[in-house]
């Protein structure tokens, strides 16, 4: 009797396959609409805009792998942005900036730890818990900076905008480093724990995997990555706005779903979601270039997101009908 080589088997082994196709497609369309896409200036400009979402998607990907979800990431991004914009300010010094970058990373991890505490130790549902903290964090951001303003020193923002070591955008290096880190982590014991807890938590528990600690850790990682994304977006925009993160949450989830990670956990990786984040950003680019009526833009973008979220379900439905 042959083992069943099914779609599930393929998707489990090579989860980044589908998002790769999507990525190539969106690059093609984008190239068509914007022929100078790969010119250094344009590439750099695009990549640095995409970077915050890419970083966020990496964090969200890990949470989803571990069987959870983090709705509060947008709120953390906003908090970091408002902290940097107010504490460092347009006339802040470089040292202060880096000081607060460090503080931000700690703050992000702390925000994640709060989520992790409620979810892993008090055993609350991830969705509703992170929904509650998303409100808490968004409110905090608004409290820190009630009106858009403040900013970061111009020369640091410029650093982010114009850095092209060896001719490649700074963002590129960040992505590569993140992927390398993931390659390492996924081959450690912790990486296996991640897949185990996300795949079937009770089986993992019976196998003496430290499930609670793993579940706690994924939220700390997510909070940390959200802080990193917040730093990136602050460097991009150069100013503060408490609502800056609010749309990023849904985008990060969509990017991870496009990227092939299963919503229930245990399947996928980080490469796929990175591709998914780029794809989603390219699609939004395409819409902006496509000269659609401004009024229609929001609707079109939102519909794309729903379609992207629905796609795995539709594919599954078609497969099941055929069987």
């Amino acid at each position: 009797m042959k083992k069943r080589i099914t779609w599930d088997f393929l998707m489990a082994r090579y989860p980044a396959f589908f998002p790769l196709i999507l990525l190539v497609l969106s690059i093609a369309v984008n190239l068509f609409l914007q022929p100078n896409m790969f010119v250094r200036e344009t590439l750099n400009s695009n990549m640095r805009v995409f970077l915050p979402l890419i970083i966020l998607a990496v964090g969200q990907a890990i949470v989803l792998l571990g069987g959870g979800i983090d709705i509060s990431v947008g709120g953390v991004v906003s908090i970091i942005n408002t902290i940097l914009a107010t504490r460092v300010g347009l006339d802040g010094s470089s040292e202060k900036m880096w000081q607060f970058v460090l503080i931000s990373l700690v703050a992000g991890a702390l925000a994640g730890a709060i989520n992790g505490f409620f979810i892993a130790y008090l055993r609350l549902q991830p969705i509703i818990t992170t929904y509650a903290t998303s409100f808490l964090y968004a409110g905090l951001a608004l409290f820190i900076l009630p009106n858009p303003g403040g900013g970061i020193p111009a020369d640091i923002a410029n650093l982010y905008r114009t850095s092209t070591p060896l001719g490649l955008p700074l963002a590129f290096y960040v992505i590569v480093i993140l992927l390398l880190i993931w390659m390492y982590v996924s081959s450690t014991r912790y990486g296996k724990y991640l897949f185990a807890v996300g795949g079937k938590a009770d089986a993992a528990y019976e196998t003496a995997v430290p499930v609670t600690r793993v579940q706690f850790s994924i939220y700390v990682i997510s909070g940390f990555m959200a802080a990193l994304a917040g730093i990136a977006i602050t460097m991009l925009s150069g100013s503060g706005n408490a609502e800056i993160g609010s749309s990023m949450t849904l985008n990060s989830i969509t990017a991870v779903v496009i990227g092939g990670n299963a919503f229930s956990g245990g399947i996928g990786g980080v490469t796929g979601p990175v591709m998914g984040a780029v794809t989603l950003s390219l699609i939004q680019n395409i819409i902006s270039f496509g000269h659609i009526n401004t009024w229609w833009e929001t609707l079109v973008k939102a519909t794309i997101i729903v379609v992207a979220l629905a796609a795995p379900g539709v594919i599954n439905l078609i497969r099941r009908r055929r069987v």
């Binding site: 599930d8 088997f9 390492y184 724990y193 196998t207």
Partner: protein
Amino acid sequence: MAKSLSARNIVKRYGGVVALSDGNLDVSTGEVVALIGANGSGKSTMSKVINGVVVLDGGQLLLDDKPAYFSSPQAAKNMGIATVFQELSLIPQMTVAENIWLTREPMTAFGTVNRILIKDKTEQLLSLFRGTYKTDLRPDDPVASLPPDEKQLIEILKAISFDPWMIILDEATASLDSRQVQRLFELIGAWKEADKAIVFISHRMEEIFSIADKYSVLRNGKTVGAGDMKDIDDKELVKLMIEKESVFSFSRADSKNGKKEKPVCLEVKDLRTDSLHGVSFSVHEGELVGIGGLRGQGQRDLLLSLFGDVPYSGTVNLFGNEIRLRHPREAMKLGMALVPGDRAREGLLYIRSILENLQLPSWAQYGFPLRIGKAKRDAEQAGASLNLKMAGLQEPVSSLSGGNAQKVVLGKWLMRKPKLLLLDDPTKGVDVGTKAEFYALLTQLCSEGKTILFYSSTDEELVGLCDRVLVVHDGLIRTELSGASLTKENLIGASLGVSNEGVR
């Protein structure tokens, strides 16, 4: 590494249900102890207490006569105790190698998992069962793609991979074929020589007598007997397992007369599902037909597909009309009823009231707005006729004991006066007194003209109650036993199937 483990007077409760009230066990290295008991006797709970998965509420565990406390599965593992579970503890999306070595992966100097070493060590383990695999089993295969028996073998390999001094096999042979069981027994023999201790939990007499040195019997949460296997025979063991000599002391009398002249109620031709490979049989009105065989051979699928919950191919005729049910609702309308195999997960709404559980399929007949008063009266009547012991209809069904909860599951269907009853192991986890009530009830229903098709994992039930028994093995009906041929020995023989060529 220790030399002996003792469990003394173990108590364990799940909510309001007492799973163990006085569990005892003594195991030492170099021997195989069989832990025996009927369904619901507390066998599984005992093993879960020993390996730290659940907390004990009372009693003591002793390692080498010194008190021991297992705070988690990790703690038990550190003490060198490995368990092979009934419900697999494998992660479906991960590979065979990853599953076996989870938490104990061989590492490289960089802190990553040593892929080559893992592959080698896995191949080594896989070779222990070489020749008994049905597929080409490799370390890189995702567990989800394996058939159930190979999953069970991986589970066993996982347990021995860290060289424990004590191995608990909890119904580990349930999904294995005879060749694999044979090889497993050879391995157990080797383990004994290597001075390991083995606890063998099973309900199969033949296996127990073939492999065990000592026995310990659980009944309704209490240990009622222990000793050497050579001092006891199977009849006495069975006697220890059940309270009375035979629960089937009521006579089936002439209930069989005239059965075959009654019209055919259910006719099944070439029924196929994922686990059934072409089943055909027919049942006459008023018959009490049993389905036998070891668990997991397709019996559950059979009942579920007849009830409309599982898609199938083939023909099913009900009272002469062909039917193709797509949903249990349609089955209900035709007068069918199903009591599912897992009461808590499939038969009851655990946190809702007894009233709501009893009336779940039947609210539509109470109009709009629902005539709750009448619903209560009908429910009370149903409860009374089943001798249901409850504090009140408004109480949550979780407050009932196993036997009474099962009465609710049965009651919700009997209230609708069904013509054909499908029962999946209805007396599982039910105390003996209630079992007797059920047997009387089922026989009574048949004499009233209702038809019953029921699966039981307890051989005595099938022998004592049924007119006929269809024994299912590997997705096919191997034998039909009735009348004089319906004996326990024949049942067991047929359950194990004929020779196994490893071809489906």
